[in-house]
């Protein structure tokens, strides 16, 4: 019974349980190979591209953003309400780099670099708005990051340089050429998002397992004790802000380029920040898996609740459905948080532990 490790290296792999490992490989295989094939042959539910474009693509991108938020909020314990703003910085700066900045003679950059530079810009401003975290914490810090949200909402609405002086203030993604390959169809967009998510989830998972992640968690659990143990709060906190904003910025660029195509600052308003925060709280603070679960819950349940009455043939107006959806969804969030305050990730963990003790769980 049980799996025994014979070396430290084996004990330190990302997925120490064999079943977990196999599960992840299967999931990756499904997402990378089987799903595009199903799409190509229109196997249900891929008869139309709805499932791919309206569910999977936003799910992947929001999961990525939630991973970013989770690093800051879940791993480092710094509450942030500015995630929407960092997504917006990623989106608009990626747009600027992708269309070229004529003022400094910069030609349009390849799209991958534009997206990564968008992320870097977000990281820069993340560090800047993370500075107050060295003095204040908790709810006070949340209010300080809220400033970022409103400031950048304002900047992208009013500073015309960011929108290349478009008369409507609405900007449109440049041609999506990845290494010379034009991405246009739903499957291609999905694959691009998937690759970004896999790469960044892997990086994030390894960061939080390593030295820097342990520093973040030490700061989260008790910052004074962490400092006494030789962890420098400045480095730990600001690195969390930088990494988190970088990932959120990349997600913002993907959201703008792949999902919306044409967007305005309203796409990244305070509601987006709150939504991301709810994702990590419901999914599970301090868990990469939780980010995915939370994103799935927040994104899919409302759509499901909206579609359900019509599909069951219940004759109520869309307005009533929309109100009902808010009520039911709100109730579900309350129930889940009362039953399991640590989120879905904790449920998964408990289930896994019970299975390992099976058939005698306690």
């Amino acid at each position: 019974m049980g799996q025994f490790k014979t070396s430290y290296a084996k004990d330190m792999v990302i997925f120490p349980i064999r079943q977990d490992r196999i599960g992840v490989y299967l999931l990756l295989g499904f997402a990378l190979v089987l799903l595009p094939l199903m799409m190509a042959f229109h196997v249900p539910p891929f008869r139309t591209d709805y499932f791919l474009l309206a569910i999977l693509l936003p799910f992947l991108i929001l999961s990525l953003a939630a991973i970013g938020v989770n690093i800051l909020v879940g791993y480092c314990g710094q509450i942030s309400l500015g995630s929407g703003a960092f997504m917006a910085i990623g989106a608009y700066m990626a747009y600027k780099f992708g269309t070229g900045i004529s003022e400094i003679g910069l030609p349009p950059l390849p799209i991958v670099f534009a997206i990564l530079l968008g992320g870097l810009s977000a990281a820069f401003f993340g560090v800047l708005f993370g500075l107050p975290s060295l003095r204040i914490k908790g709810l006070y810090l949340a209010v300080a990051t809220l400033a970022a949200q409103f400031f950048f909402d304002w900047v992208f609405l009013r500073v015309k340089w960011f929108t290349n002086y478009a008369p409507s203030g609405s900007v449109s993604a440049p041609e999506l050429k990845f290494f010379g390959y034009l991405v246009a169809t739903p499957v291609e967009k999905y694959m691009v998002a998937l690759i970004f998510v896999i790469v960044f989830a892997l990086i994030a998972k390894n960061l939080v397992r390593g030295n820097i992640g342990r520093q973040w968690m030490a700061i989260r659990d008790m910052d004074i004790a962490a400092e006494l143990m030789g962890i420098r709060p400045l480095v730990a906190k600001l690195s969390a802000f930088a990494v988190s904003s970088f990932i959120i910025g990349v997600a913002g660029a993907l959201w703008a380029f792949l999902r919306l195509g044409t967007w305005e600052p309203l796409a990244f308003d305070i509601n987006r920040s709150l939504e991301l925060l709810f994702m990590v709280i419901i999914g599970g603070l301090g868990s990469i898996l939780g980010s995915f679960l939370g994103a799935a819950f927040i994104l899919i349940v409302p759509i499901f609740l909206t579609v359900l009455p019509a599909e069951l043939g219940i004759p109520i107006t869309t307005g009533t459905v929309s109100h009902l959806q808010n009520v039911i969804f709100g109730g579900m969030i309350c129930c889940i948080l009362i039953k399991e305050p640590l989120g879905f990730a904790r449920l998964w963990q408990i289930g896994k532990e019970k299975l390992r003790m099976w058939p005698f769980p306690y």
Binding site: D49, Y50, A54, L157, E264, L266, F304, L312
Partner: protein, 442 residues
């Protein structure tokens, strides 16, 4: 798992299976028309009457005529809340429904229109943006799939300024005057600015641009600026709760309401009623010939839809936006009818309907036949001109109803056309679209 939980889970799984697009039992002889609307949120006051008008008109056709030339209309509403990402989700959900896919989309949101413009191009579905949307999409050579029927924001801006000039006593009187534009800070509100700038240069007035942040309930600082600068006229480009707030704030700073002129999206009953007597004297454009009121088509609605208890409008029946929703539905349906003359009386694809919309020609007699006489001027769409008509009147609120106070104005294309050319060709270049040659018949 308890029995109850198991049942719940089963119901959920069942629901999921139903909601997947596989199960779409739809009649084969039905034309599917999606309806993106908003009945909740900050813009619901305007979204509800419009959506009611659209769906009542579809119901009328189904009840009275059995659809369009015998093809029943199947329509489904999707709540966008005026939010772009929800609008995109609705679009993806509804675009493939029905026997032939969605006939056309009309999102009633400039932001959603911007986001859908590229998607409809790829999916070959027309997008009707009557009185809103991208102003440069008037140029059908570049924007083959966009139809900003009856007037773009650039036309609206020019018409509003024509009326201002007339009230002042001539275009030469505009020189040195101050005109403020209070606008919803979104693509919608920003659209008229290029035209107003052209006119400001031409006539020598100064343009004050005063943005109001979504949703528009906080306007104190905006109207403080108006109190300080005392512009001669205020043009209002608002939507939803912003409109009513603007009218109230104008009263609060004692700015004369009869010097405030709203665009045709700021001139409905929900925009003035909350302000009560403070709204008396406020002016707004109409889209086309008329605003509120009952016409021949309303009698038909009462007879065929409301008598059977199938209508959904309440107080909003025959209000400004309700009527506009009907006109919007009628133009789309006539586009389908036109396409049927070429492709036959059966459910058509978006691509076929696009042809119908582009060749839509509604002379006065046909409008009368449809029961819309007095509601809109003749419309003729061509490849070069996806707008079709660009006339409006000015109405004034007297505390109880909107009163027409002007004749028809027609937007002067000599001011808007260069902008259409410039900005649409810039778009074509950015998106690598080759403009169609409109001299060649399709």
């Amino acid at each position: 798992m308890s029995v109850k939980a198991f049942k719940l889970a089963l119901a959920a799984v069942g629901g999921l299976a139903l909601s997947s697009p596989v199960v779409m039992a739809q009649g084969q002889n039905e034309q599917f028309i999606p309806l993106l609307s908003y009945r909740t949120g900050a813009y619901a006051v305007n979204g509800i009457p419009w959506a009611n008008g659209v769906s009542d008109y579809f119901n009328l056709l189904n009840e009275r005529d059995g659809g369009i030339n015998g093809v029943k209309i199947a329509f489904e509403e999707c709540e966008t809340g005026y939010a772009t990402d929800k609008g995109v989700e609705c679009y993806e959900r509804l675009k493939g429904k029905g026997a032939t896919g969605a006939a056309f989309f009309n999102p009633l949101s400039t932001g959603i229109t911007f986001a859908l413009t590229e998607k409809t191009l790829a999916d070959k579905i027309p997008i009707i943006t009557m009185g809103y949307g991208r102003a440069d999409s008037k140029n059908g050579a570049v924007f083959a799939w966009n139809f900003p029927f009856l007037g773009t924001y650039w036309s609206a801006a020019d018409i509003a300024m024509q009326h201002v000039a007339k009230e002042m006593g001539g275009e030469d009187k505009l020189k040195g005057k101050k005109i403020a534009l209070v606008f919803h800070d979104s693509p919608y509100g920003k659209e008229p600015i290029p035209t107003l700038q052209v006119l400001a240069k031409k006539y020598g007035f100064t343009l004050m641009e005063l943005p109001v942040t979504h949703p528009g309930v906080e306007q104190k600082s905006t109207w403080l600026q108006i109190r300080q600068n005392r512009p001669d006229y205020v043009l209002l480009w608002g939507w939803g709760v912003m409109n009513g707030t603007s009218v109230k704030e104008a009263a609060a700073v004692a700015y004369p309401r009869d010097k405030v002129i709203g665009v045709w999206w700021s001139g409905a009953e929900p925009d003035v009623l909350p302000a009560g007597d403070q709204a008396i004297g406020y002016k707004a454009l109409t889209l086309g010939q008329s605003g509120a009121g009952e016409f021949a088509v309303h009698a038909a609605l009462k007879q065929h839809v409301y008598a059977k208890n199938k209508g959904i409008a309440k107080d909003d029946f025959a209000q400004v936006l309700y009527n506009r929703g009907m006109i919007n539905a009628m133009l789309g349906v006539e586009g389908i009818r036109k396409a049927m003359t070429r492709y036959g009386n059966k459910p058509l694809t978006g691509e076929q309907i696009r042809w119908g919309l582009e060749n839509l020609d509604l002379p006065a007699e046909r409008i009368k036949e449809l029961g819309f006489e007095g509601m809109l001027t003749p419309v003729k769409i061509t490849c070069n001109d996806h707008e079709g008509a660009r006339s409006a009147r000015v109405q004034q609120w007297d505390g109880k109803q909107w009163k027409m106070i002007s004749d028809m104005y027609t937007a002067r294309q000599e001011y808007t056309e260069p902008l259409v050319k410039e900005i649409s060709s810039k778009y074509a270049e950015e998106k690598k679209i080759t403009a169609r040659d409109c001299s060649k018949p399709e």
